[in-house]
Structures are given as structure tokens and as C-alpha cells.
Symmetry: C2
Subunit: 325 residues, 2 copies
């Protein structure tokens, strides 16, 4: 195994906590958050010492119907400014842009005119060249940019090697390990982290981790990654995110030892907003169908459907999953 | 870091899965399970290839009032036999005996007259000599015996060294890492595992792990331990256990690659019994108060109280915890 970075009592100044509550959580409620929620989350992140806050997607209004989604599906400049003003804080603002779902040449404006700091380009392994074009564009506009390779549990080693070669030669600032299916174990996360870090250390880039909680391993996998040297850590308040959700901010801040992080604003936000949100019927988090899709390395869509239908016939669900290939 | 044992595709024949559903789950409902529940759990464990099933405690009726608890607090021979007959299966039967709460000289009968195979002696670090006396007695009666040192997150390294010395010289078959507070991270579990294994490998004993899910790390910690060479793995169906509960059998069986293990009987049992049990108001599993006591390495009792009271004032709860020392 690899040499570990850092210890349980000290802290690593390279660690950045990235709040992805609106972006991944928005997949649960079509981005229909109240303004109060977003304002309080922003204030909580600033007060908690969180390093980045992802406001949502830069999705194209040519592709997605504005009437179906809240504003954070599109992250218009004026909507973000309405919350953050000129963002005169230490918190950086991030957005996600999906390959093929973003008119980036039109919708990403020069950094000098924007409060956005970081553009995270989400891609599958087979669309890396398109993703790198978006990265290049964002970098030229003045942004920090990452490339987030989703569903990495489905990629072959040879594909990953080739992707890392291409990414190494690019201008991108960081690359993310994204376990979209919540299928990976710590050992596999560590193997990926070592591969990614070999590329980034040679090219002055950083590595991030975005974990899903299908097997209740999101927090554990985040710790495993950071112990290897991964430094950008995605988390969401109360783990809010698609399906089984993500590594929870309140888990992660309890683990990190940097005194700049403060749990209290997150607990306050959680109490004020997340408990009522759950009570209002918005559903996310670990359950047996998510465990099973995670174990079988499948997209969580069938588990999302089972959850929405309130299915408790777990054995049938399991047998159906097995029959699908 | 240590050399890992096994790989993600192969399996280790030394691994044993120990079902602790009744024993740890009984702490949630005072052992008031229906006979149907126990019979079905026994059948499910046999069919799933589970190696041991812990039926409950051998608590003394002089100390605990029989009218307050179900029979599995006491595990009388005839109550176990009523479920398992002569237990003509490959599943072994375990019971737990707490130091100071068990009249073991009276209540543990010779192995030749019992269906019980394994006596697990639960102790704190400061009562190891008393625990070893119980172990010695059980061994003389013909049983397999383990010593399970609870709340190990509160023990000093020097105490652990001394305990391991004493245990190494004893007749005990196995020693358990017990993270009663769900406070430990994988790195700490690995450090303990390495220490325990150094003693057991020199003395022909084995190491087990019993994890709690306060920080959603029970499964991750169990994997971390087994990867180091720990071989007895406690799990409970649906994670049922005190407070935040335990590593879930359905998580663990999805990870283990030994073809003798079968997930289907566990899912069937879960569907038939655990969902209704939860719906009937029996409460266990991860929540924010458990996360906080875990992070702060505290006994879960205040989080159990907060859960029973339905408290959602997480910030107050957190501040109260901090004030308690």
C-alpha cells in the first residue's frame, strides 16, 4: 500500500472542502430550493470555512425546460449574484458543466465579468476530448477548471491510462475521482487515487474525490482518498444528493483537523433547513435498493424508482437487477 | 501501512461471519423478539452460510428482572434448543457473557450438555483478569471462547499492550476489537488490528471486529480490519444494534467473495421481519446525534436519549456534549 499523507492529529493545508449540496442535491428536487435555503447555505459555508460552494449546473436552456427546474440548473450570473453579491469572502464559487448539455461558448462568460471561480466539467470516460475542449475554453476565459470523470467504476484500466495521458497534457487544474454508482471500495479508491496522483504530481495539478453513499462508504472512501494525497473533497450537508447521496459535510468537518473549519454553522443550517426539507417529502440517503445497485456496480436509476415507489420487496428487486444484463 | 491479506476477487477461508442481530439488536428492544423472528433468523443464517449466530446474553437472573426482558437476555439452554433442536447444521451457536453480570459458574453448563459452541466474554480494559477467569472456566467446560474488549477507543496504548500480554498467555481462542462508541477511523482500526494480530499470530489465536455505525464507518472499519488479517466479522441484519447499530450483514455478504455466502436468505428475512420491526417503532441506525457522540468518542447514551425524544436541535445537542467534560 501507498505511504499515507498526513496524520490524525495534524492537518494538511492543501485540503479543500467543496460543498456540492445544491448541485447534487438539486438532482433530488429539480433544483427547487427556496431563496432562504440558498442564502443560508452560502452564509453557513462561509462561516464554516468551507473552501468552495458549487451552485449548480450551467445547463443549456435550449435543452432543458426552464419551467421544470429551479434556477440552479442554469446558474445564470445574476441569480448567483443575487445570493452572493460580489462574493467578498474567502469562499470560492463553483458551477458544473456537463459535456453535451451546456452551451459553454454562449453561457460561460469571461471570468472578469463573473463571480464564478471554478468550472467543473463533468464527463464520461468516452467524451474526454469534448470535456478538454470545455476546460480549454474555461481556462482561456480565466477560470480554474477541473475535469470530473463520472461512473469511473465502469471504466477499464486502459481507458483510464489513456484519459490520464490526455488530461496530463491539458491546462486543467484538477481531476476528480467520481464514484457515481457508489460501487467502489476503499482499496479501489486508493488505486485510482495513486494513478491520478502520479499524473497530477508530474503536471502540477490536484486530485479531487466525489463519493456516493450507496454502500455507506462515501465518507470512508473520502477519507481513503485524502489519506493517499487527494486534496479536493466534495461533501453535501446531510449527504443530500442523488439516490443514496454523498459524503456529508458534518461527517467530513468532524474528521478534518484544520481549525479553520467549524461544524457549528453546518449543524445550524442542517437543523433549520434539512430536517424540514426531509419532512416535506424530499427523499435521499442510504437504503437497501441503493446498497444493491452499488454492490452490483449499476446506475442507481432502478433504486431511485424503487425508492419513489416505496418498494420493500428487496429480494425481487435484487433478482430483477441480476436479470437485467 | 501493513501488507494486505487477500484480494477483491479471491476469498480467505479463515473469514467467519458472526451474526449478532439478537444480541446487539436486543439492546434496542430489551430482547422482545417473537419466536417467529428468531426461528426465521436462524434458518436465514443457516441458508446464507453465516458461520456463527449469537443468541444473546448469559445474564444473571439475580441481577436482571426476567419480567423486563425477553428470553435472549438470559439464553437458557432450553430456550435455544427450542429454536435449534440439536443444531444439526454448520452454523455455530454463540452467547455473550458480560463480566460482572453473569453467574457463569452456575449458568454456563458443560459444553457436552449444551448446543452452545462459543462463549464471548465482554469486558472493559480494566476487568481483563475477571474476563480471563470466565474464559478459563468456559474453556475448561469445553467451549470455544473469545475476549471482547469493549470501548477500546477509550483505552490507552499502554493498557492495550498489557492486556494483550495477559491475553496472549491465556487459553482464549480469539480476541475482538470492539468499537462500542463508533468513534474509530479505519486507520485506527488498522493500528489496533496490527497490534492484536502480532499477539494472536504468536499464540495461535484469531482476531475479530465488532464495529458500530455512529459515523457510518461500521462496514468500512470491518473491511479495513479484514484486509489486515482480522477474520471474525460481526454483522447484524439491517445493522440492528444499539444506537447507530452495526455493520449490516447485507453489506458484508455483498463484499465477501466466498461462494458459500448467499445474500438471498438475508434479504428475504430483512423484508419479512426488519421492515415491520422498524415500522412498529423499534428504532436504530445512523443519525446526527450518533455521529456527534462518535466524533467526540462518547458513550452513545445521550444520543440514544436524544433519538428517543425525537430531538432535532442538533446544535444544542452538540454544545451540550462539549460541556459534559
Amino acid at each position: 500500500m501507498q505511504k499515507k499523507k498526513g496524520s490524525l492529529l495534524s492537518f494538511r493545508p492543501d485540503i479543500k472542502v467543496v460543498d456540492a449540496t445544491i448541485r447534487d442535491g438539486g438532482l433530488v428536487n429539480n433544483f427547487h430550493f427556496t431563496e432562504d435555503f440558498i442564502k443560508d447555505l452560502y452564509a453557513a459555508n462561509v462561516a464554516a470555512g468551507v473552501d468552495y460552494m458549487e451552485f449548480g449546473y450551467k445547463a443549456s436552456k435550449d435543452i432543458f425546460d426552464e419551467t421544470e427546474f429551479g434556477p440552479w440548473k442554469f446558474c445564470e450570473e445574476e441569480d448567483i449574484r443575487h445570493i452572493v453579491g460580489d462574493n467578498d469572502t474567502d469562499l470560492k464559487i463553483a458551477v458544473m458543466a456537463d459535456v453535451g448539455r451546456c452551451n459553454y461558448k454562449r453561457d460561460i462568460i469571461p471570468r472578469s465579468e463573473s463571480v464564478i471561480d471554478l468550472v467543473r466539467v463533468a464527463t464520461y470516460i468516452n467524451t474526454i476530448p469534448a470535456a478538454l475542449e470545455m476546460v480549454e475554453h474555461s481556462k482561456q476565459l480565466g477560470y480554474e477548471a477541473t475535469i470530473n470523470i463520472m461512473a469511473i467504476s465502469n471504466a477499464k484500466e486502459s481507458e483510464i491510462e489513456e484519459a490520464l495521458d490526455l488530461i496530463g497534457k491539458s491546462d486543467v487544474d484538477g481531476i476528480y475521482i467520481v464514484d457515481s454508482y457508489g460501487a467502489l471500495y476503499m482499496e479501489q479508491i486508493e488505486e485510482l487515487a495513486i494513478k491520478y496522483l502520479a499524473m497530477t504530481e508530474a503536471n502540477n495539478k490536484y486530485v479531487g474525490i466525489h463519493a456516493h453513499n450507496n454502500q455507506q462508504l462515501a465518507f470512508a472512501n473520502t477519507i481513503a482518498a485524502l489519506t493517499c494525497g487527494v486534496s479536493y473533497l466534495d461533501a453535501t450537508v446531510n449527504g443530500m444528493g442523488r439516490g443514496a447521496g454523498n459524503c456529508a459535510t458534518e461527517q467530513l468537518l468532524g474528521f478534518l483537523k484544520n481549525p479553520k473549519y467549524d461544524m457549528i454553522p453546518i449543524l445550524k443550517f442542517l437543523e433549520k433547513h434539512m430536517t424540514p426539507l426531509k419532512e416535506s417529502g424530499v427523499v435521499w440517503g442510504y437504503n437497501i435498493p441503493y446498497l444493491l445497485t452499488g454492490q452490483m456496480n449499476r446506475h442507481p436509476r432502478s433504486a431511485i424508482a424503487a425508492t419513489n415507489e416505496g418498494r420493500t420487496d428487496f429480494l425481487n428487486f435484487y433478482l430483477e437487477l441480476g436479470d437485467k444484463d
